[in-house]
Assembly symmetry: C2
Homo-oligomer: 410 residues x 2
């Protein structure tokens, strides 16, 4: 059977968009026939990349609505800013295209609801491309959980600890969206990297849901300290007051009694870490500075996780390693793009759907409100309007994020 194909538009050719576009061009069935960026130099660069990789000339646009008006395009990918991508997603679905976009939190609950309602009305895919859901470690832990190796789940922790002082401090030069967000906002600005995999493990929107959220923020002194260390007082942000606290921690309480604790930690010295912790009645897993560790009930001591990972590796990753792992972020960028492309080309449900997307993104705006109220609990919306109670696991295709999907375990 011939590989089914479709025409895609690609919107947002920033540094990240650049590498995602290259990766996307290698996904089976993907034809990128139009690119777009609001900056003309970036839009032109996008067309050059497509030419370079495929040998074909494509149109470039600086207004995404012009791209969306093209009838030959079936679906789009957006790698734009945290503030623009849900607008673009809603426009895309209204124009009859599937859409997937880069990670980032929401600014308002209503933008989440709009994505949900538009996806429900149009039947189009609206998928946040949370690559960490497709990480080798995360998929293996997911499989181990589904096979019962952790027992009853009780508690998760995840984090985005990433020293971004330089990226934010040089944000004007590199046109990076983080700068304005760290200046204006105070909350869990980047929740999805560890929350995505955690939500999948907990069956959020499929038998479970988040009920409440609390967030607390430390003072924010790291960015100013960086400016003082790196620059002279005439530097443009030398005296800027950044609203974002250096350490923001967020609690989520689930309908089934589990807790999730997230940490956002980007403006102090911190080697990269997602601080992943899983606790169930039969085991505890913990990310660690050197090697990840695990301890099963009865063992009393940590042991290295690597041999356990190898013994329990998710079948998708086994197959992927045999075929040859693509580069972006250790290979997970390629998998999340494949998962979207497969669903979009064949008009099938995506493994990360609009309810997941809205739920994960909503953490940001809820967190800002809770921080402002001293960590007061805020209600978490049920974007499924009660469907979560009876929705079963998603089991279609090899990118289904289920260890027990038909593709592998018939």
């Amino acid at each position: 059977m011939a590989q089914p194909e479709a025409n895609f538009g690609f919107i947002g050719i920033s540094g990240r968009g650049n590498s995602m576009l290259r990766e996307f061009l290698s996904v089976p069935g993907v034809r990128v026939t139009a690119v777009c960026d609001k900056y003309e130099d970036r839009a032109r660069r996008g067309a050059e990349i497509v030419k370079e990789v495929t040998g074909k000339d494509v149109e470039w646009y600086t207004d995404h609505r012009e791209l969306l008006a093209r009838e030959d395009i079936k679906a789009v990918v957006a790698c734009t800013t945290w503030i623009s991508h849900s607008r673009i997603a809603i426009d895309a679905m209204r124009a009859g295209k599937h859409v997937a976009f880069e990670v980032g939190g929401a600014a308002s609950l209503d933008e989440c609801w709009q994505m949900v309602r538009t996806a429900e009305q149009t039947g189009k895919i609206c998928m946040i491309m949370e690559n960490c859901c497709f990480e080798r470690r995360e998929m293996t832990l997911f499989k181990m959980i589904k096979e019962g190796m952790f027992g009853e789940l009780v508690h998760f922790e995840g984090a985005y600890c990433h020293d971004l002082r330089e990226e934010i401090g040089n944000g004007r030069e590199i046109r990076h969206g983080r700068l304005v967000n760290f200046t204006a906002r105070n909350g869990e600005l980047y929740p999805t990297h560890q929350l995505g995999p955690i939500a999948k493990c907990l069956g959020i929107n499929r038998g479970n849901r988040f009920l409440t959220l609390n967030s607390v923020a430390s003072k924010g002194v790291g960015l100013h300290d960086w400016h003082v260390k790196q620059h002279t007082p005439d530097y443009y942000n030398y005296n800027t007051v950044f609203n974002e606290g250096d350490v923001v921690q967020t609690f989520l309480k689930c309908a089934n009694g589990e807790t999730v604790m997230l940490t956002h930690n980007c403006t102090l010295v911190h080697p990269y870490s997602r601080r992943y912790v899983i606790q169930g009645t039969n085991a505890i897993f913990s990310e660690a500075p050197e090697d990840d560790v695990i301890c099963f009930d009865g063992e009393h001591r940590w042991k290295k996780f690597q041999p356990v990972l190898e013994a329990n590796e998710h079948p998708l990753w086994k197959e992927y390693r045999t075929a040859g792992v693509h580069a972006g972020h250790g290979g997970m960028d390629y998998l999340v793009l494949c998962a979207y492309a497969e669903a979009a080309i064949n008009d099938l449900p995506a493994p990360i759907d609009v309810y997941d997307t809205a739920t994960w993104m909503a953490v940001t705006c809820l967190s800002e409100q809770s921080v402002a109220m001293g960590g007061a609990p805020v209600p978490f919306p049920d974007f499924t309007d009660g469907l979560w109670i009876e929705r079963g696991p998603f089991r279609r295709g090899k990118f289904c994020l289920e260890a027990v999907c038909d593709e592998y375990f018939e």
Copy 2:
């Protein structure tokens, strides 16, 4: 000059009291002349221990008020339950004795206030014996902070991760106080081990204070799971519903903008850990499953903490290691007992005073209230009634917990 001495009473001869009594008998200047436990067998055992170690006969009591009525006794140590020790402390001060007691949280804010008011009125010492303040690692980190190596402090984490399922599950047999507390309560039941050192680093009650607290608890399934794994349905607690959540996390927000996150984690599989994390503008320290790690600004990677500890060791510990470290909990039990004895014998202020004691203990009852209100912020009392604003660091004696005290840095 002759070593000054004093007569002490020792109350509470549980398993823990047993080892603390032996340790206390080796502290310079300490004469234990009376022992007490509400169980007669334990009280007799206390007298036997004193006889064994010192060769002297001492009175034993089953009512602490009888011991407190003895005029020859200058001060007491109490190793009783979380619910009884503040009552005993208040009785002791009213009877004109200094008092120090084992760690544990408070059940009510008023018990904390009573300790504060009684200490203020009587001028007696009321000290929680938080041994972790005297741990080698903790004292060295404290010294590094005071010397500016972490820059401006922003965020701390600490925990009590200790798999106590067996101790709690067998609580009736071993007459252990944890059982009833885990059955009846839900909150941060054991906050002080990491909070004590953190509060000292942050200058709490001396230029800083805790303003608000939020706590969130997971469901509590670990103890029931343990009973199902270990026992048959006729076991006395097989069907008990334990109120305590398996993982309770607590946020403290400080007057100077710092945050503290505490984890209580005692009823699931978990190798022992206090999960100590310190973040400032110049460095991050993190406890880790294998070796503790640190990263200074500009380094970008974790490195092992051990060589840094050795290069920056607190002078009290250098001296202590030269003289020979005593056994209990790696030596810190001995140091906290010495710190108390030195203050009590000489009628001097103690390095952990009643304000510290009340503040650290109050976390427990505040946490229970916040958990019950879904993590709502609760106001943290100022037990100093505003004195914290101008109180300077405590700098007396070699157990002063200050790296810059006169004893060492003239």
